[in-house]
């Protein structure tokens, strides 16, 4: 009798394993609804931003460096004139540029400065400052792999948040603004 009973339990193993698998899938599907699978979390969160020293778009003779930005938090928004999704994000940036409460710095990525200027002229300029990285080499240090991407950098130059893809009002309300506010209050 014991032999048969033991066999019976073994017979249920495939069903149980399958049930666990289905459970994973269900969780996965649910997760997929609220996340975008392509957007990979950055390893630079809570780490110092890479040192950069890039020319301004409008006055190329001058530049902005990481050191010059220390002392107050700011947003770094990676964009380019050839980037479709940046066009989608643009109205949101225009609407929120003053609501963030901190400077919005444009980071023109792998773009000809003339094209970038023309693009900003055509669409409007939401940025307080724009720097250019024509070769994209500095962007590698930031872990940029596409545009648009947005970094929140605090007063000590530490990256506190990164958003990949266009900013939307939902993302700003839910994730970005709370972090900005926390930094403003002096926390992290």
């Amino acid at each position: 009798m014991n032999e048969v009973a033991r066999k019976s339990i073994g017979r249920f193993v495939p069903l149980l394993v399958f049930a666990v698998l289905v459970a994973f899938f269900v969780v996965g599907l649910i997760w997929n609804q609220s996340h975008d699978a392509r957007f990979v979390p950055s390893p630079l969160i809570n780490k110092p931003a890479p040192a950069f020293n890039l020319p301004r778009l409008k006055q190329p003779a001058t530049s902005i460096s990481k050191a010059s930005m220390l002392g107050k938090p700011y947003l770094l928004n990676v964009f380019a004139s050839w980037c479709f999704a940046c066009g989608d994000e643009h109205p949101v940036l225009m609407a929120y540029r003053d609501k963030f409460g901190i400077p919005l710095i444009g980071y023109d990525y792998k773009d000809k400065p003339a094209d970038a200027r023309a693009w900003l002229e055509r669409h409007g300029d939401p940025y307080h400052e724009v720097i250019t990285d024509e070769s994209g080499v500095t962007a590698l240090d930031f872990g940029v792999y596409g545009a648009p991407e947005t970094y929140l950098i605090d007063a000590q130059g530490i990256i506190r948040y990164k958003h990949i893809g266009p900013l939307t009002p939902e993302v700003i309300a839910k994730d970005l603004q709370p972090k900005i506010d926390a930094l403003q209050r002096g926390g992290t």
Partner: protein, 660 residues
């Protein structure tokens, strides 16, 4: 008007499938012949309506009816007619309809050829297939209707993705689906057996030909996909362990195990529960593959555009069909261990080892493919799993299988003659090592090259030794039954595949070069000379066409014309130019203009790459050959309890539980 008829046809098919899954099974349960007989007609009726729907969709493509949204999304006025027809299954909705059509083809084939099976059993099989069909048709009608209209109809459609405008597209999905869907037959047989509580395992003999054919199609479908990727994607690769490729490989591995488990159960009566389980797994992995591709859960160039409802629906379907089957298995699987016993050294053991390694390999592929998903679900981060995981592990797992491969056929059932094994082992080792040495002398120096040569010869020598032994020992006229021929072809194909896969990997030469017209580059023993680029035109594209002439020792070999095409919709597609050869491919791709009249080009020398697909073709031929065997012909109608066609399997020695 006609597309709406297509929609109606699908709804009618849905209704019929619902009846098909209920009536014959109730009939079998109640012993009602009239009810059982309905199965046949319902199956045929369903086929008619599904075929009608498929025909209507095809017609819509043929006449460029852009009022049908699916046509507008996947076809275009400039698309050549042969790609218009293939575009029918180029995206989600159409591919589902193809799936349904193929399911119906298998069911109708069963109706036509399975007439001599006991009616009760047969009705259950048809009923199970009806259940499978019902779920899919419901899915289509509810979430993926191919006949949705756009009004007003656009004047022109979007183009079919240029990557898909290729003869490979015409063959790869239908062949693959023939395999995927074909496993539903083995599945239906297994479920029917569980439902009927059959004690004997005779249903396995009836299931074997169907399973072999399905596996054969799956093999050639995968081969077609691999060959297509090789020449279409242009960088010489033939397998990427891409999640969707893995989704087709998992049922293939299970199918290979199933074929062998079925053989043991058929001839020796043992492993019945395992054969049942594998039959369920095989189809489960087919369904899993279908789910994964449409769920949006996997990052893959292959994946169809996803919508959440579609993914969820298939998951529910998967859960019900497979969960239900596994529950049925848990409750009804044979509790008695039947079948003949066998010694540790025996053909059965060799085949069990093979089954073990194939199943573990399938589990490994599943683990690697699903792990990123699991990682997300459990919040442990984005895990990336790719070829460096799958490749080495697969190689490791296949090693015991390759080592054991020659010794299964060389053994008897029940107990191997160790002397025979010993002698064979010596011969095989000698041949393999000799081949390795010849390779070494011929220039093979890397570990992988030598591994490839010795492993391939190990397998091929095993088959050859068996063939010779059989020739000597079996009476004339009975030497090589079809089943055995199939086995030899397939096993030999494995050897050919091993040679191709490992040698290509270790011997390929690939170079990116920038060349001016007139310059040349040496790759291996060949000289590639570039002659510049001209403009040409195709039916729906403009192309820049390069000319590269290849010589060897001064003698001309071939002139290749790689192209860079710009399609009507603006997409750019690179068409590689390949000189295919039995022993090596020469391959050229055109890159970009680099100023000064120079162009970048990629040139390859790929030895033995065709052996990869040649091995696959041999495996397919082998599996098809098996079904021709006399053993599987039912000469007269089979009565349920005396179900022996010919020759009879030796009755099990004991049916009761065995205790030590």
């Amino acid at each position: 008007m006609t597309p709406e008829l297509g929609q109606l046809a699908l709804i009618l098919a849905l209704i019929l499938s619902a009846l098909q899954c209920v009536l014959p099974i109730v009939g079998a349960w109640r012993g009602s012949r009239p009810l059982m007989a309905t199965g046949r007609s319902l199956a045929i009726g369903q086929f008619v309506f599904v075929a009608l729907a498929f025909g209507i969709l095809t017609w819509a493509f043929w006449i460029n009816d852009f009022s049908v949204a699916y046509v507008a999304q996947n076809s275009n006025l400039t698309l050549p007619w042969y790609y218009r027809l293939a575009a029918v299954w180029g995206a989600h909705e159409g591919s589902l309809l193809l799936w349904m059509l193929i399911l119906n083809l298998w069911t109708v084939a069963l109706v036509a050829l399975g007439g001599k099976l006991p009616q009760e059993f047969f009705s259950r099989v048809i009923g199970v297939l009806g259940f499978v069909a019902f779920g899919f048709l419901l899915y289509m009608v509810a979430t993926s209707n191919p006949f949705v209209r756009i009004l007003p109809a656009p004047p022109n459609g979007a183009d079919l993705n240029p990557v898909l405008q290729d003869p490979g597209l015409t063959f790869h999905p239908p062949l693959l689906y023939m395999g995927y869907v074909g496993f539903s037959v083995a599945f239906a047989f297994a479920i029917a057996s569980l439902l009927g509580g059959e004690l004997k395992a005779t249903w396995v003999r009836w299931a074997r030909p169907w399973t072999n054919v399905a596996w054969g199609f799956l093999t050639i479908g995968i081969v077609a996909g691999s060959a297509w990727a090789y020449y279409e994607l242009g960088w010489g690769g033939w397998w990427f362990w891409d999640p969707v490729e893995n989704a087709s490989f998992m049922p293939w591995l299970i199918g290979a195990a199933l074929i062998h488990a079925q053989a043991i159960t058929d001839k020796r009566g043992g492993l019945r529960a395992w054969t049942l389980l594998l039959s369920i797994f095989g189809f489960a992995f087919s369904l899993l593959g279908t789910f994964l591709v449409r769920s949006g859960l996997l990052t893959s160039v292959h994946a169809f555009a996803f919508a959440p409802t579609r993914g969820l629906f298939i998951l529910v379907y998967l859960g019900v069909v497979i969960g239900g089957s596994l529950l049925l298995y848990a409750l009804r699987a044979p509790r008695v261990t039947g079948g003949q016993s066998f010694a540790l050294a025996s053909r059965e053991t060799m085949m069990v080892i093979g089954n073990l390694m194939l199943t573990v390999a399938c589990a490994m592929v599943m683990l690697g493919t699903l792990y990123p998903l699991v990682g997300e679900a459990l919040g442990i981060g984005r895990i990336s799993v790719g070829p460096p995981y799958f490749g080495p592990l697969f190689l490791l797992l296949m090693t015991p299988l390759v080592l054991a491969l020659p010794f299964g056929p060389l053994s008897r059932w029940g107990k191997a003659d160790l002397k025979v094994w010993g002698r064979a082992l010596v011969k095989i080792v000698v041949l393999a090592v000799a081949a390795g040495c010849i390779g070494f002398i011929a220039g093979a120096r890397s570990f992988y090259q030598l591994l490839g040569i010795t492993a391939a010869v190990w397998v091929m020598a095993g088959v050859a030794l068996f063939a010779i032994k059989r020739w000597r020992e079996a009476p004339a006229g009975k030497r090589y039954p079809f089943e055995m021929v199939g086995m030899m072809l397939a096993h030999f194909g494995i050897g050919v595949f091993i040679a191709g896969a490992i040698l290509t990997r270790s011997m390929s030469v690939e170079q990116d070069v920038s060349m001016r017209p007139g310059s040349s580059v040496e790759v291996g023993a060949y000289d590639f000379q570039f002659h510049g680029v001209t403009e040409t035109q195709g039916p729906n594209y403009r192309a820049q066409q390069g000319t590269v002439s290849i010589t060897r020792n001064g003698k001309p070999v071939v002139a290749l014309h790689p192209q860079k095409r710009t399609y009507a919709g603006g997409q750019v597609q690179t068409e590689a130019a390949i000189q295919a050869g039995i022993f090596r491919d020469l391959y050229v791709s055109l890159g970009d203009r680099i100023g000064d009249g120079a162009w970048s080009l990629r040139v390859y020398d790929k030895p033995f790459v065709r052996w990869i697909w040649g091995g696959g073709i041999l495996m397919m031929l082998g599996s098809f050959a098996v079904v021709l065997d006399r053993r599987f012909r039912l000469k007269h109608a089979v009565e349920p309890e005396t179900a022996h066609a010919e020759p009879e399997p030796v009755p099990p020695a004991k049916l009761a539980d065995e205790h030590a």
